[in-house]
Amino acid sequence: MATESLATIALNALLVNNFVFSLFLGLCPFLGVSGRLNTSWPMGLATMLVMFVSSVCAFAINWLLTVVQLEFLRLICYIAVIASAVQLVEMSMKKFSPTLFRALGIYLPLITTNCAILGVALFQTAKEYDFVQSMVYSLAAGAGFTLALVLMAGLRERLELASVPKVAQGAALTLMLAGTLSLAFMGFAGLGGAE
């Protein structure tokens, strides 16, 4: 059982080991939806919600599989749970905010293949977090993902007005920006417990 305090876990997942900038998880939506500020934060929040739901479910499943000694089914079960959680978020978003639902489009169902979510489930299992620790970990990881998305969207909106050499336009420039942000996030490494 891990003995880290809840604050350490939260700080770790939010800044020190930020999911996007230092663990390279969830890069596809990060590069895909970070073009606009007003779609990036709802996307981040939706991801955070899915992370939380699937983290709680994954905790229960892991407990169950350990009891019946079928640990090799863990990966398949986690994926199934995440797919269902995404479906849940999709349905509720369609009901409560149809405009947002349309704005996010294809990226909403693609949350299923966001590795950050499976990452949370796998890491909390590997680190043997208890129930409360898992919940804090998943919320902080989701918040970290949202932070990364919003930061990036802000930068990219600014860059739309800049004149960029033609070869550097598009993905290359975005990756360079991400690298610079990642460099900045390395500064947090002194803050707390590393891996």
Binding site: F24, L75, T113, S182
Partner: protein, 217 residues
């Protein structure tokens, strides 16, 4: 195989398109997470590429074999389960072969499940093509992915540690550029490679454009 099924003949292009024209790392920008996360050395990059290729070929073959049996509504879920089974196989295989490698790649082996290249190939290619095509194309995409990873992994290892596949390249006085092994290095090196390739494409495109312009007049 029924004769009614029409598909282009199985030629070298089925393999090559995945390696070059539709290279998953450098052209399509798919599967970014493992691409950046494990490429801090050439050997890790190669292992990751090989593992992904195995999953690609295995799941491609199975999806192609089952393409008539799977109902359209549950196809994505079926593909995911097929992929997850192959990933579980790879996971245990690497544990059995080399524990050091397993420790180095960490959770990223299990995260092959959510590599969008594999689901993308299953949905867009293997589910519509006969077995032979699916296998050859998956092998091509896997090779392209491995090559992309190797490009990244070797540059990062050479700059960050002064070695390639663990062999020292420079003399004693080489000062390693550690940041290349750290996360920002991954972003920078991939960005650099993309720049190089888009520059090459630009250069190759220009004579063509000029030729067309002259012909137009």
């Amino acid at each position: 195989m029924t004769p009614a099924e029409k598909s282009p003949p199985l030629d070298f292009d089925t393999f090559l398109s995945g390696v070059w024209r539709e290279n998953p790392v450098l052209v399509m920008l798919l599967g970014m997470c493992p691409t950046l996360a494990v490429t801090n050395s050439a050997i890790n990059a190669f292992a990751m590429g090989a593992a992904t290729t195995f999953v690609l070929v295995g799941s491609g073959a199975l999806v192609s074999l089952l393409r008539r049996l799977v109902p359209g509504t549950v196809r994505i879920a079926t593909y995911i389960v097929i992929i997850a089974s192959f990933v579980t196989v790879v996971d245990y295989l690497i544990q059995a072969v080399s524990l050091a490698l397993y420790a180095a790649l960490g959770a990223f082996i299990q995260l092959i499940v959510v590599n969008c290249i594999i689901l993308g190939r299953a949905e867009a290619y293997a589910s519509k093509r006969p077995l032979g095509h699916a296998i050859v194309n998956a092998a091509g995409v896997g090779t392209g992915f491995t090559l992309g990873l190797l490009l990244l992994g070797s540059v990062r290892e050479i700059l960050g540690a002064g070695t390639l596949f663990g062999l020292p390249l420079f003399g004693e006085q080489f000062q390693p550029w550690v940041v290349m092994l750290l996360p920002p290095g991954g972003f920078f090196v991939l960005g650099m490679w993309l720049l190089v390739f888009s520059w090459l494409r630009e250069r190759r495109g220009r004579p063509h454009a000029e030729a067309r312009h002259i012909h137009g007049h």
